[in-house]
């Protein structure tokens, strides 16, 4: 036991926190403002902005998707469902041959099953999948968590730009495609 008994020190810690919470301005500005002093955020009224990399919900940039099935195959949970068919697209150059193009019919992600691991976003070779930090998409019915491709496409508007890297990084910064 030191000079001050531990019991008193403990009271000091809780009492000090009490004072710091009520008077966040400290001694200089002793105005009670617990809303500022508290660590918590009054959620529905006030929202913390998630970081740009936050894995909230998966957004689909439909134009880039070639229905290559890579994401559906790599998904550990088997929660991505893709259906598509081939169709003829007009030739790229005039006089060229009509191209074969994969048309996406269905792209569903079951967010009830999803583990938010990000493997699908990572393996996508055509930059069609992105993480959006949006997190408010809970549903009263579990079946509604199956987002179809139009819903997934809507999330694209919430996808932030990739953050620049810390000094010393040699990774190339990617770009989010314009909508």
């Amino acid at each position: 036991m030191g000079l001050v008994p531990g019991i008193v020190k403990g009271l000091g810690v809780t009492g000090g926190t009490l004072l710091r919470t009520v008077f966040p301005g400290g001694v200089k500005k002793p105005i009670p403002a617990p809303i500022k002093g508290a660590q918590t955020v009054q959620y529905p009224h006030e929202k913390e902005t998630p970081v740009a990399r936050a894995r909230g919900v998966i957004a689909l940039h439909e134009e880039n998707c070639t229905s290559c099935m890579l994401c559906a195959r790599e998904c550990p949970d088997w929660c991505i469902y893709i259906e598509g068919h081939k169709e003829k697209a007009p030739p790229r150059r005039a006089g060229g041959k009509p191209r074969q193009k994969n048309k996406l019919d269905r792209f569903d992600i079951d967010f009830a099953l999803c583990m938010y691991c990000g493997i699908c976003v990572e393996v996508c070779p055509f930059e069609a999948l992105f993480w959006s930090p949006e997190y408010e998409f809970s549903e009263p019915h579990i079946a509604d968590l199956l987002h179809d491709k139009s819903r997934l496409h809507e999330w694209m508007t919430t996808v932030p730009e990739f953050e620049p890297y810390e000094a010393g990084a040699s990774v190339k910064l990617k770009k989010v495609p314009a909508l």
Binding site: S67, M69, A72, R73, C75, W78, C79, I80, Y81, I82, E83, G84, H85, K86, E87, K88, Q100, N102
Partner: protein, 221 residues
């Protein structure tokens, strides 16, 4: 690593004297008991012992060689899984025209092996920071081995887990009861021939491919 480290890497000896010595002292004590061994220089040591020498190995390691720290006991079922990655069901394969494959031969890992089931345990010496993996082969018709509990009391739960997951009996164990699974559970889930139902009740979404346009079969890759 930086350049200094790469030179260090090259300096790692192809032979590992400390582990050679350790293996020698184990062999000296157990004699015929040691049936196989493997050393990865600078890294690890595997010793495969005879089933009768299993408990003696533990005693030797703990009392004479200072391996006080017990890491784990578990088992390996070396039979290749008849279900593969469980990605596609039998029905799909038949439709695709794939013939039912012959079961692949059993292939054991380092330090060799003769049988389908192998119990392996790992103990550490906290002073020399060396670990050793001990393996023992169990014949299919007699999945029994003596328990390590008298030497390493911590083996108790690991052996219970191993018993329920692989069906390997540890003779002399103070209470082989289910540890994870409910008491009435039947079967040994970690055996390779025990199907993982979650991967069978639902088709793999990755199995479908982009459908070709009608009358356009030749594009199908």
């Amino acid at each position: 690593m930086s350049s200094a480290d790469t030179t260090e890497e090259e300096a790692v000896p192809a032979t590992d004297e400390a582990r050679e010595q350790l293996l020698a002292s184990i062999t000296a004590d157990l004699g015929e008991g040691v049936v196989g061994s493997h050393i990865r220089p600078g890294d690890d040591l595997w010793v495969r012992v005879d089933r009768d020498a299993w408990l003696d190995t533990a005693r030797l390691l703990r009392t004479k060689l200072g391996f006080h720290y017990f890491s784990f006991i578990s088992a390996i079922d070396w039979m290749p899984s008849p279900y593969g990655r469980s990605m596609d069901s039998r029905v799909d394969l038949v439709l695709e025209g794939v013939e039912a494959e012959e079961p692949q031969p059993i292939e054991q890992g380092v330090a060799g092996g003769d049988t389908r089931f192998q119990v392996f345990a790992r103990v550490n010496n906290v002073v020399t920071n060396m670990g050793v993996t001990i393996k023992v082969d169990l014949p299919d018709d007699d999945l029994r081995v003596t328990t390590w509990v008298p030497v390493y009391p911590g083996a108790n739960w690991h052996e219970r887990e191993c018993w329920e997951m692989f069906g390997i009996e540890f003779t002399g164990h103070p209470g082989l009861r289910h540890i994870y699974l409910p008491g009435a559970f039947e079967g040994n889930p970690m055996r390779k021939d025990y199907p993982l139902l979650a991967r069978h009740v639902r088709p793999w979404p990755g199995i479908v491919d982009v459908e070709a346009m009608p009358g356009d079969d030749e594009v199908k890759s």
